[in-house]
Symmetry: C2
Subunit: 353 residues, 2 copies
């Protein structure tokens, strides 16, 4: 049983803790929070020992009626693995502490690739990450693209890959962020960092990404175009993608128009927090035009790296191989339990013969 | 002096009327409005004879204190050309009336290409439209893309062209439209109609477009990627585009981050209604990677077809050739009066020798 500490119980951290809790081979050693508040209250309610970052904060928590378990050093010391889900750039400041206590750690996509032994995506490079001391789960956009590109790389010769990323302005709780009524090239430079970042886990493909930020909070949307060496069979492409548990081919009969309807569908299906862990690819957008392959997909920025963090825990501890880990993670979370386009789509009754 | 009637004094029509007014070779014969209100009041204030569509409406206008000039049939009869700026699909219902009075007419992009003699873009196919009876100015997205693609087609061999269109949800006054907090593949099918529509004016290039609708009102944004037969010189590409009066290469030193800042810049420069008639291409986005050429541009959906409507009036009447018409239109409107990236950008002082 692996003891997992979660440093930073925020958007990603709280989801990782909940995902750890339902795995049979791991438990939540504790979580850290810098301030009391609603998320800290949820952590206590779920029985996650609540740590904080310095002595003064312990008093702050106690005054607010919480019962903090102690300071982060203790959590790092007693954890087999730390998942660092602190804000971008903050993870780096904790690296010396993780080193001091010899605790392997998994960072998130906003930390530098150079800081860790390897960047991680379960589908792309689990094997290369086994036994590392420090890993970095690539960002939500990179994870979302890697999940659809990796199986295509396995099955086709791809000459060029391009993606326009229509990024959400902020998460639903970041209501102070913009933009309002704006579409912002962010960055205006091409490629954005996402394309090169895919190369840290899937070096077989060179992706040029262009990123724009818009006034939404629910999901990122990617318009992807690939040039293949030869014209692919569209049905075969759909089948290759549908075989991936972490790709949801959104069937046309669901009439899911956009990310708002996708998010609603996730909530209706009882997903925790409505989370959409999979890359959600509109089946109706999958288009082959000669050697060009096009599709549009949505990526839930709050949750899609969560299963990768779980798999990264097993990779860094060397406790399971890629296939077993991904299958177990998927089963425990309920990933891939969508009505499949190819599996379950209602078949029109053939005319009687 | 050409007498121009504007049927439909709305978002496009009112701008076309104002643009006609400042041309030395044409005058506004009148405009039509179906209902009294703020736009009708502006029309009267500017001295545009105000027509309406049926007898009952005349009374409606009179009761509201307006002095309507008459019914649309009279306007069509006395106009040398009609610019039909009625809502999409409505133009078609007026075609029999234009025919009856033998008045040539210019429709907007939402009408069918098949309905007219030719679709029109001044830069791409002015010559082919001279003397036609019925023209259609292609839509704002198509116009915006055609303006940047036509000069590239003239100068380079383009093997493939792709564009992701991040479309505004509605115009600033269409506050009842969505989306709110959504990114919607619209259509989910690839290509969207825009790519094929470019072919109606610029058949030399085959563009695959993917369209998404987002919660903005100010401008469309296009992420464009082209595969050329050979790697182009980036400075030459910039120069080719900068030579186009209807392409504004947005210089980096303006620090214009997105469409909101672009719109603000247009307002600050005293443009009527803040209109940005040009395709606004972020110079910082212009990127060459081998044979791939990338850029991001913004298109002001309310105004960018206005100069094309003016040129179409001269094409349909055969009163001027393309170069003269475009130059006159540009001069009278003030198009291309931006600080040029290549012309006026502050040059860093070279180190003293």
């Amino acid at each position: 049983m692996l003891s997992v500490g979660v440093n930073g119980y925020g958007t990603i951290g709280k989801r990782v803790a909940d995902a750890v809790r339902v795995q049979p081979d791991m438990r939540v050693a504790g979580v850290t929070k810098t301030k009391p508040g609603a998320e800290a209250a949820i952590a206590e309610e779920r029985g996650y020992p609540l740590y904080t970052i310095e002595q003064d904060r312990l008093d702050l928590f106690r005054e607010a009626g919480f019962e903090p378990a102690g300071l982060i050093e203790e959590l790092v010391q007693e954890s087999d693995v730390i998942v660092d889900a602190t804000p971008g750039g903050v993870g780096e400041t904790y690296l010396p502490m993780y080193r001091e206590y010899d605790t392997p750690a998994i960072f998130q996509g906003k930390e530098d690739h150079e800081m860790v032994d390897a960047s991680f995506n379960a589908r792309a490079n689990f094997g290369e990450c086994v036994g590392a001391d420090y890993l970095r789960v690539v960002s939500c956009n990179t994870t979302g693209l890697t999940r659809t590109l990796a199986p295509l790389v396995d099955n086709y010769e791809i000459e060029a890959a391009r993606a326009t990323l229509v990024r959400r302005g902020g998460d639903p709780d970041q209501s102070e962020r913009g933009p309002i009524n704006d579409t912002i090239p962010d960055p205006v430079d091409i490629p954005s960092h996402h394309g090169p970042d895919i190369g840290t886990v899937l070096p077989e493909i060179d992706v040029t990404t262009v990123a724009l930020r818009v006034p939404t909070t629910l999901m990122h949307v990617h318009a992807v175009s690939l040039t293949l060496a030869a014209s692919p069979d569209p049905a075969e492409v759909a089948s290759v993608l549908d075989d991936e548990s972490r790709v949801f081919l959104v069937p046309e009969y669901l009439d899911v128009e956009g990310i708002a309807a996708l998010a609603e569908y996730g909530r209706d299906r009882g997903r925790p927090r409505g989370d959409m862990w999979e890359s959600c690819l509109w089946d109706g957008s999958l288009t082959v035009d000669g050697r060009e392959l096009y599709f549009i997909q949505a990526v839930h920025q709050e949750s899609n790296v969560v299963p990768e963090n779980i798999d990264a825990i097993r990779a860094i501890t060397g406790s399971m191989d890629a296939a077993d880990s991904m299958q177990l993670t998927d089963e425990q979370l309920g990933i891939g339990n969508w009505p499949g386009q190819l599996r379950d789509a209602p078949t029109p009754t053939p005319p009687s013969e």
